[in-house]
C-alpha cells in the first residue's frame, strides 16, 4: 500500500510537470498561428449588411479580449491565471469563461468516449481470444483480417457510412445534436432515451473503429501467453479448461491496459472526426470552432483538458497494472 502511495506521488509530480510543459508548448504554438480573430467577425457583419465603419466599431470590443503586452508577459500572466484555474475569456463568445465553454463540450465527449470504449473493449477482447485460439482456422484468419481492416478504416469514413445508412437511407436515428430540445430535461425516460438515441451512432462509430486494435492486441497477447510455462504447468496439473482460460485471460489482459490508457487519451483528442461528422457538440467541435475563430483561451483550455485526460488515464492504467501484475507489484519497472 505504501509502495502504491509513493508511486502515486511520483506520478502526480511528473503529471504536474508534464502539464506545465504542455501548457507552455501550446501557449507559444497557438500564438504562432496566423489569423486574426477580429477579421472574420468583421467580415461576417459586413456580409450581413453592416457598413464597414459600423462593423469596425462593433468589432472594436473584441480587441479588448485579445492578449496584450510582450509574449513573455502574456505567458507569465497566463501561468498565473492557470494556477487559479482561470483559463481566460473566450473571444468567440465574448467575455464568457473559456473553461465553461470547454467543460460543456467535455461532458458530452466523455459520455461518447466511454460508451465507445466499453463496447469496443468488450467486442475486441472476446473476439481476440477466439482469434487466438482458432488461429490456424479460417475463423481466426477472418477475425484477424477483419480486425485489422476495421482498425484501418478511418473514423470519418465509418461515420459517413453510418450517417448515410441510418439517417438518410433508413432514417431510424436522429441526424445531429445530442438531445431533442423538446423533451424536458432531467432524469426522466424520454430525456434519457433521447440522449441515448443521439449518442448511439457516434458511439457505434467509435466502437467499430476501435475494436480492431483490442482484437489484435488480445490475440497476440493470448498467443504469447499460451506458450508460457505456467499454462503448460496448469495443463499438466490437470486444471479444467475454464480454469486454464481464466489463467490465460488474466495474464493476456495485462498488455491491454497499456493500450486501453492510450486509447482513452487518443479518443479525447480524436473526437474531432466523429463529433464533426455527427454534429455532436463535444470537445472536438469546441476545438474546431475555437481554432476557426482563433479563440486562444478556449484553444488553450481544450488542449490542457485533453492532455490532462491522457495523463490521468496513464496514471490510472499504471496503478491498475501495479495492482494486477505481480511482477510489477514487486517493484519492477512498469512498461507503461
Amino acid at each position: 500500500m505504501r509502495n502504491l502511495l509513493v508511486r502515486l506521488a511520483g506520478h502526480l509530480v511528473r503529471a504536474l510537470v508534464m502539464i506545465w510543459v504542455v501548457a507552455t508548448f501550446t501557449f507559444f504554438l497557438i500564438r504562432l498561428m496566423p489569423g486574426d480573430p477580429v477579421a472574420a467577425q468583421y467580415e461576417k457583419l459586413v456580409q450581413q449588411g453592416m457598413s464597414p465603419d459600423a462593423a469596425r466599431n462593433a468589432t472594436r470590443l473584441t480587441y479588448g479580449f485579445l492578449p496584450t503586452g510582450s509574449g513573455w508577459d502574456q505567458y507569465v500572466h497566463y501561468l498565473w491565471r492557470l494556477l487559479h484555474f482561470d483559463f481566460g475569456r473566450s473571444t468567440q463568445t465574448l467575455g464568457v469563461n473559456a473553461s465553461a465553454e470547454v467543460l460543456t463540450g467535455a461532458k458530452w465527449t466523455i459520455g461518447l468516449v466511454l460508451a465507445g470504449i466499453l463496447i469496443s473493449f468488450a467486442l475486441g477482447t472476446v473476439l481476440g481470444v477466439i482469434a487466438a485460439i482458432r488461429r490456424s482456422s479460417g475463423v481466426g484468419d477472418a477475425l484477424t483480417i477483419t480486425g485489422s481492416l476495421f482498425h484501418a478504416i478511418p473514423q470519418f469514413v465509418m461515420a459517413l457510412v453510418l450517417i448515410t445508412v441510418f439517417t438518410v437511407i433508413w432514417p431510424v436515428f436522429p441526424t445531429d445534436g445530442n438531445v431533442d430540445i423538446l423533451v424536458d430535461p432531467g432524469f426522466n425516460g424520454p430525456y434519457v432515451a433521447s440522449l441515448v438515441s443521439h449518442a448511439s451512432l457516434p458511439a457505434l462509430a467509435y466502437a467499430l473503429s476501435m475494436f480492431g486494435s483490442y482484437l489484435l492486441t488480445m490475440r497476440s497477447s493470448v498467443i504469447s501467453v499460451l506458450g508460457d510455462d505456467f499454462v503448460l504447468a496448469a495443463e499438466l496439473r490437470g486444471l479444467t479448461r475454464t480454469m486454464r482460460l481464466r489463467y490465460i485471460a488474466r495474464n493476456a489482459l495485462l498488455p491491454l491496459f497499456t493500450i486501453f490508457a492510450l486509447t482513452i487519451g487518443f479518443m479525447f483528442g480524436g473526437a474531432v472526426f466523429i463529433e464533426k461528422a455527427f454534429n455532436y457538440p463535444g470537445m472536438g467541435i469546441t476545438l474546431i470552432n475555437s481554432i476557426g475563430h482563433r479563440d486562444y483561451s478556449t484553444m488553450n483550455a481544450t488542449f490542457l483538458l485533453i492532455t490532462a485526460a491522457v495523463i490521468v488515464a496513464n496514471i490510472v492504467a499504471d496503478l491498475l497494472y501495479t495492482a494486477i501484475d505481480p511482477r510489477v507489484r514487486r517493484g519492477g519497472e512498469a512498461v507503461a
Binding site: M33, P34, G35, D36, P37, A39, A40, E43, V46, Q47, G49, S51, P52, D53, A54, N57, A58, T59, R60, L61, G64, F65, Q92, T93, G95, V96, A100, E101, T104, A115, L118, I119, F121, A122, L123, T125, V126, I163, F173, D176, G177, N178, I181, L182, V183, G189, P190, V192, A193, S194, S197, K276, N279, Y280, P281, I285, N289, I291, G292, R294
Partner: protein, 602 residues
C-alpha cells in the same frame, strides 16, 4: 467483464428503441405548433445579449430592433416598423423622432418605454452599436438621445458632418429592457458619453476608456432569464439547439402562428442538408447547396425554396502591387479569358448567377441604381481580344503559352480557402480555363478563413477570392473595392486619405487615381466617400461613374452574384413570403412579425 458489457449493450439498445418510438410520438403530438429553424451557431454558454457574437438573443425572435430593414438595393433607409411603430426624420437628416408601438410590452408584462430606448442607446455606445460610437471618427454620429415622453424618443446626429447612413444605423439598434439591464449600467453613463463626445481631449479620453471598460464588462453579461419584447422568449438552450416559446405579451401576438420555435445549430452544411432531406426544417437561412442536392431537397414533400437577390458577389480580386497585375491590360485580358457562366456552374450552380458585368455591382444592383449597361463591357469570352490586351501589356505568346516580357512564364496564382467549397471549386475551374488558354494558373487553398483573411490583409496573395458588392447602401458596396483594403481610409474632416500599397491594410494596391476615357481622371476612393454624404439622386450619378470606372479598370473580376435561397417546408406552415420579397434577408422571426407564416389548417 464480458457479461457486464453485453448487459450494457442490451440496455443501450432498449433505450434506443424506446427513444425512436418516443420521438416519433412526440413529433406527432407537437403538430403544427413548433417551427424549426436554422439560423446560427448555438452556444449554450452564450449570454442572452444580442451584442455578443454568439448569442442566445436571436434577432427577430427574442431580440428586437427599432425597425427591420427592407434591404432595398438603392435605398437603405427603407424600414418596416418593429419596436418603432413610426418615425420622422428631419429634412437635414440630423434629427430622428421615434414613436414606440403603443402596445409594446416585455414578456414579463412591463411596457416598453422611452427609458428602455435611452438605456439601449447607452448600451449601444458601450458595445459598439452602429450609430453609437464613443470614439469619434470610427462611425456613429449620434450625439444625444432625448426621451420626449413614455412612447416618444428623439435621436440627434452630429450636425457638422451628417452621414446618410445614420438613420439606418439607428433603426438597427437593439432594444433592451431597462429594468433588467439598468443595474449593470452606471447611472451617470450619459454624462460619461457626453464627455467622451464633446469634452476636452484628456477628459474625453478618460470617458472613452470608461465606456470601453463598461463594454468589456457588459458583452459577456446577459440576464439569467430572458425578458423579450419580441414574438418569442428563450426557454432553454442545449449545446446544439435553442427552444423559444411564444411571448403572449408581444404587441402583434395574434400574427404569430407557432407556439414555439426550435433553432438548430448551424455547424456545417452537410448536417443541414440531411435535416432538409428529412423535411424537418420549416425555415432556414441561406444554405449553399449543389444543384443535385437542391433537386433532392425539393423532391422531399413540402420542401420549397424562397429566393431573392442578395447583395453579395464572389469576385477574383487582384493585388496590383504584384507585377504584371498592375497593368490594366493584363487584368482585362484575364477577364476576356474566363467564362464566368462556366465558373458559376462549377462553383455555385444552384445559389449563384454569373455576374453580367465586372463593375463592382450585382445584376440587381445595376438595375436598382439604374446604371446604363450600354456603356459597360461584359467581357464575354474572347481569346482574340485577350491576346490584344496581353500584347499591349508586353506579354508574348510562344508555343501556345503566354510569357512575360522578360521571357519568364506568365503565372496566375489563385488563392482560395478550404473553408468555402464554392470558391475552391470555382477557383479550380478558373485555373483550368486559363491553362487551356495558355496561361499558367495554379490554385492554392488556405487552411481556414481566419488564416486566409490575415494573409490576404498582409498582401501575401496575388489573385484571391473576395466578396464584393456587399450592400445594401451604395457606400458599403464601393467601400469593398475602394475602402481601407485598397488604401483609402477616413481622414479628418470627412475626407479620405490614401496610403500606399502594403501600408495601413492596403492589400489591393490600386493606383490612387486613373484616367478613364469619357470620365477623365477618377479617384475612386474620394467618390466612394462622397457616397456616404450626398443625397440619393447624386449617389446615383456617382454609382454610375464608379461602375464605369470599375468596369474599365477591372480591379476585380466578378464571378457570380449569390442568390439568397431560404428553404421552407409547407407541411406544417404556409403563407411564406414570395420570391424576391424584401423580407428575405431577415430571419423568419421577422417574417412572422410581418404577417407571414401561418399554421396549416388540419
Amino acid at each position: 467483464m464480458r457479461r457486464t458489457a453485453v448487459a450494457a449493450t442490451a440496455l443501450a439498445l432498449c433505450a434506443t428503441l424506446a427513444a425512436t418510438s418516443c420521438s416519433s410520438s412526440s413529433s406527432s403530438s407537437k403538430g403544427g405548433g413548433t417551427f424549426t429553424a436554422i439560423l446560427t451557431q448555438i452556444d449554450s454558454k452564450a449570454p442572452i445579449n444580442p451584442y455578443n457574437q454568439s448569442t442566445n438573443s436571436f434577432r427577430g425572435y427574442n431580440a428586437m430592433m427599432l425597425g427591420w430593414s427592407k434591404n432595398t438595393a438603392t435605398d437603405p433607409n427603407k424600414f418596416y416598423p418593429a419596436i418603432a411603430k413610426s418615425w420622422e426624420l428631419s429634412p437635414d437628416g440630423t434629427k430622428l423622432t421615434v414613436h414606440i408601438q403603443p402596445n409594446a410590452k416585455w414578456s414579463d408584462g412591463k411596457p416598453v418605454t422611452g427609458d428602455d430606448l435611452k438605456l439601449s442607446a447607452a448600451v449601444a455606445y458601450a458595445e459598439g452599436g452602429s450609430a453609437f460610437a464613443a470614439i469619434p471618427g470610427t462611425a456613429g454620429g449620434t450625439v444625444d438621445v432625448k426621451v420626449i415622453d413614455d412612447k416618444t424618443v428623439e435621436f440627434d446626429q452630429n450636425a457638422t458632418k451628417p452621414l446618410n447612413t445614420w438613420f439606418a444605423n439607428v433603426m438597427t439598434m437593439y432594444v433592451l429592457p431597462a429594468h433588467v439591464w439598468s443595474a449593470q449600467v452606471p447611472s451617470d453613463i450619459w454624462d460619461t458619453i457626453h464627455t467622451a463626445l464633446t469634452g476636452s481631449a484628456a477628459d474625453a479620453k478618460t470617458a472613452q476608456d470608461t465606456i470601453t471598460a463598461l463594454g468589456k464588462k457588459l458583452i459577456g453579461w446577459g440576464p439569467d432569464k430572458d425578458v423579450s419584447a419580441g414574438p418569442f422568449t428563450l426557454t432553454r438552450v442545449t449545446t446544439s439547439e435553442a427552444l423559444l416559446t411564444k411571448n403572449k405579451n408581444f404587441y402583434d401576438a395574434d400574427k404569430i402562428a407557432p407556439s414555439q420555435v426550435v433553432i438548430k445549430n448551424y455547424q456545417d452544411n452537410s448536417t443541414i442538408v440531411n435535416l432538409l432531406l428529412k423535411g424537418e426544417i420549416d425555415g432556414s437561412v441561406y444554405v449553399a447547396v449543389s444543384q443535385s442536392q437542391l433537386d433532392k431537397i425539393l423532391a422531399v414533400k413540402g420542401n420549397q425554396v424562397v429566393s431573392g437577390a442578395s447583395p453579395v458577389q464572389a469576385s477574383l480580386v487582384f493585388n496590383e502591387s504584384k507585377k504584371p497585375f498592375d497593368n490594366v491590360h493584363v487584368r482585362r485580358g484575364l477577364a476576356y479569358l474566363i467564362d464566368r457562366a462556366q465558373v458559376t456552374k462549377v462553383g455555385e450552380s444552384s445559389s449563384g448567377k454569373a455576374s453580367p458585368y465586372p463593375a463592382g455591382l450585382t445584376a440587381a444592383q445595376i438595375q436598382g441604381w439604374g446604371v446604363s449597361t450600354s456603356g459597360l463591357n461584359a467581357y464575354s469570352v474572347d481569346t482574340a481580344k485577350a491576346a490584344t490586351e496581353f500584347q499591349q501589356a508586353g506579354l508574348k505568346q510562344a508555343g501556345g503559352k503566354w510569357t512575360l516580357p522578360d521571357g519568364k512564364p506568365f503565372t496566375v496564382p489563385i488563392q482560395t480557402t478550404s473553408d468555402f467549397n464554392d470558391w475552391t471549386s470555382g477557383a479550380s475551374n478558373v485555373a483550368a480555363q486559363l491553362q487551356a488558354a495558355g496561361v499558367d494558373a495554379k490554385v492554392t487553398a488556405s487552411s481556414d478563413y481566419a488564416t486566409y483573411l490575415a494573409d490576404l490583409a498582409a498582401g501575401k496573395f496575388t489573385v484571391s477570392w473576395w466578396l464584393t458588392a456587399l450592400g445594401p447602401s451604395a457606400y458599403n458596396i464601393y467601400q469593398r473595392l475602394y475602402g481601407a483594403a485598397n488604401g483609402w481610409t477616413l481622414g479628418t474632416g470627412g475626407g479620405v486619405a490614401h496610403s500606399a500599397a502594403g501600408q495601413s491594410g492596403n492589400w489591393m494596391g490600386e493606383a490612387e487615381s486613373a484616367d478613364v476615357s469619357g470620365l477623365g481622371t477618377v479617384n475612386p476612393g474620394e467618390l466612394t466617400n462622397q457616397l456616404s454624404q450626398v443625397p440619393p439622386d447624386q449617389q446615383k450619378q456617382i454609382v454610375a461613374k464608379l461602375a464605369a470606372f470599375t468596369n474599365d479598370q477591372v480591379p476585380a473580376i466578378a464571378m457570380w452574384d449569390y442568390v439568397n435561397q431560404n428553404f421552407v417546408n409547407t407541411n406544417r406552415f404556409t403563407g411564406f413570403p414570395p420570391n424576391d420579397a424584401d423580407v428575405l434577408r431577415q430571419p423568419q422571426g421577422v417574417w412572422m412579425q410581418l404577417g407571414y407564416i401561418k399554421a396549416k389548417a388540419k
